[in-house]
Amino acid sequence: MSKIPRNFKLLEELEKGEKGLGAESISYGLASSDDITMTYWNGTILGPPHSTHENRIYSLHIVCDDTYPEKPPLVRFISKINLPCVDTEGKVTNGFDILKNWKRSYTMETVLLELRKTMASPSNKKLKQPAEGTTY
C-alpha cells in the first residue's frame, strides 16, 4: 500500500478538525491559518467526566515537523496538568505509549483521544490537579 504523503495527511486531519467530524471531546486545528507548512497546531481536550479533569478544558501545542507522520508529533500541554506521562514543562514524554510505539496510521486525533483516555484511567483520574487556568 502506498503511503500518504505528509501534506495530504495533514490536510485531511485539518479538514476533519475544522468540520468537527471526529469525536466531540477533543478539537484541533492549525495555530495560524496561514501556516502553509501545517507544522504548528493547537489542540484541546475536554476533561473526561467522573475524574478530577471533569469540566476542564486542556489546551495543547502540537508540532508536526517534516518527519511527521513517520515520527510522532511533539505534544506539549499549555494548561497545567498532573499526569505521569507529562513532564514538568508540560511536554508529553516518550513514556506515553502512543508516542513511544508510534504508527504511521496514527493521527493527532489518536494522540488527543489517547491522552484523554489516560486522564480517565483508574490510576490517574483521582490525581490532584493544579488550579484550573494555570499554564506552563
Binding site: 475544522e18 468537527g20 469525536a23 466531540e24 484541533y28 492549525l30 467522573h50 471533569e54
Partner: protein, 339 residues
C-alpha cells in the same frame, strides 16, 4: 459595510447540533447569545472551542478564521455531574435525612419527577439525565430483586467483572453515597451509624468484592434455607463483622438485622439500591455505574472502524452502536437503513 454571512455548525454534547447563519464580524459573546436560546444554556455557561482554541468573548468570529461549513464545539460550564464527582463534602449531615442542601437543585439534569424526599444528595440524579437516556434499554436489569432471586452463578459472574468491582469500591469509598443508600432503606437507617462503619470496614469490603467469599456465603445460605438462613448464617459463618455485631447483643431485633446484613451481603446490598418505583429509570439507575464511560471511549474501536468505512457522523454512529450493543456490523446495517 456588508460582509457575506457564513454558515457554521455548533456541536454540543450528545446529539445536540445547531446551525447558524452568522456575520463573521460579530464577537464570540454575541454568538454565544445566539446559541443560548436554542441550546438553552446562558452565554456565561458556554465555552466555545474551534480548531483547538477556546474562543474569547471579546474577539470576533472572523479573527479566528472560522470558515463557512466549519464546526464549533460547545461545552457547557455547568457542573452537570458535580454530585457524582464531589465526594467528601457534607457527609454527616446527610444521615439525618434533612433535605436542605441543594446538590440536585443546581443540577440542570435533574428531572422534576424523581421521587420527592429522597434526600439532599442524590447520586442517581445524573443517571437520569438525557445523556444516559439510551442506556436503559441495553443494560442488563440490575435491581434489588436480582440480588434475591438471581442465579448465584450469574451474580458471581457479575462480581468477577472488574468494572463492577471498581464501581462497587468507588461506591464504598464515597461516604455520601453510603449515607444516601442507608437513608433509602429504613432497615439500615434504624441501625444507626454502625452500618456505615460496617460498610466502610475493610472486612465488609473484602466480603462484598470477593466473588469467592460471595459464592461460599450464598451456598451456605441456600443450605440453611432461604431467609431464615440469613440470620442463622451469621453464627455459622465466621462472623465477618464481629466488632459491630457484639455491640448489639442486647437488642435482639437489631441483632438479627445486623446478622443478616453481615451474613448475606446481597440482601443488604440489594435493598441498598433504591426501590424500583422511586425512579423514572429503574433499570438504568443501579445499572449505570457498570459503565458510565462516555460513548467515544466505550465504542472507541468500533467508532474508529465506522470512521474508516466512511461513516463520519459521530452522533449517528454512537446512536447506532448503542442500539446494537456495540456491534459494528449491526451498526452499519442500521446506518444504511436509516440514513
Amino acid at each position: 459595510m456588508s460582509t457575506d454571512k457564513i454558515s457554521i455548525h455548533i456541536k454540543g454534547s450528545g446529539s445536540a447540533k445547531y446551525d447558524f447563519e452568522i456575520d463573521p464580524t460579530i464577537t464570540v459573546l454575541e454568538l454565544k447569545e445566539l446559541i443560548s436560546e436554542p441550546a438553552s444554556v446562558t452565554s456565561d455557561c458556554q465555552r466555545l472551542i474551534y480548531s483547538g482554541k477556546v474562543l474569547k468573548d471579546t474577539e470576533t468570529i472572523a479573527s479566528y478564521k472560522v470558515q463557512s461549513g466549519h464546526t464549533i464545539h460547545l461545552v457547557k460550564r455547568n457542573a452537570s455531574a458535580a454530585s457524582a464527582s464531589a465526594p467528601g463534602t457534607a457527609t454527616a449531615s446527610n444521615t439525618t435525612g434533612a433535605a436542605t442542601t441543594n446538590t440536585s437543585e443546581t443540577n440542570n439534569n435533574v428531572p422534576s419527577n424523581i421521587a420527592a424526599g429522597v434526600g439532599a444528595f442524590n447520586p442517581m440524579a445524573d443517571l437520569t439525565g438525557a445523556r444516559y437516556a439510551g442506556f436503559g434499554a441495553h443494560l442488563p436489569q440490575f435491581d434489588a430483586s436480582m440480588f434475591n432471586d438471581a442465579d448465584p452463578d450469574q451474580i458471581t459472574n457479575m462480581m468477577s467483572n472488574p468494572q463492577f468491582q471498581q464501581s462497587l469500591n468507588a461506591m464504598l469509598d464515597n461516604p455520601q453515597m453510603l449515607d444516601y443508600m442507608i437513608n433509602l432503606n429504613p432497615q439500615l437507617r434504624a441501625m444507626g451509624p454502625q452500618v456505615r462503619e460496617y460498610f466502610q470496614s475493610p472486612m465488609a469490603r473484602q466480603l462484598l468484592t470477593n466473588p469467592e467469599a460471595m459464592r461460599s456465603m450464598m451456598s451456605l445460605q441456600r443450605a440453611l434455607g432461604g431467609g431464615a438462613g440469613g440470620a442463622g448464617g451469621a453464627s455459622a459463618f465466621p462472623a465477618p463483622g464481629n466488632t459491630t455485631a457484639s455491640e448489639d447483643t442486647t437488642s435482639s431485633g437489631a441483632q438479627a438485622n445486623a446478622g443478616s446484613a453481615q451474613a448475606n451481603p446481597f440482601a443488604s446490598l440489594g435493598s441498598l439500591f433504591p426501590p424500583a418505583g422511586g425512579f423514572d429509570f429503574p433499570s438504568a439507575s443501579p445499572a449505570a455505574p457498570a459503565d458510565t464511560r462516555p460513548p467515544e471511549e466505550r465504542f472507541e474501536t468500533q467508532l474508529g472502524q465506522l470512521n474508516d468505512m466512511g461513516f463520519y457522523d459521530f452522533d449517528q454512529n454512537v446512536a447506532a452502536l448503542r442500539r446494537t450493543g456495540g456491534s459494528v456490523q449491526g451498526a452499519i446495517e442500521y446506518l444504511l437503513n436509516n440514513p
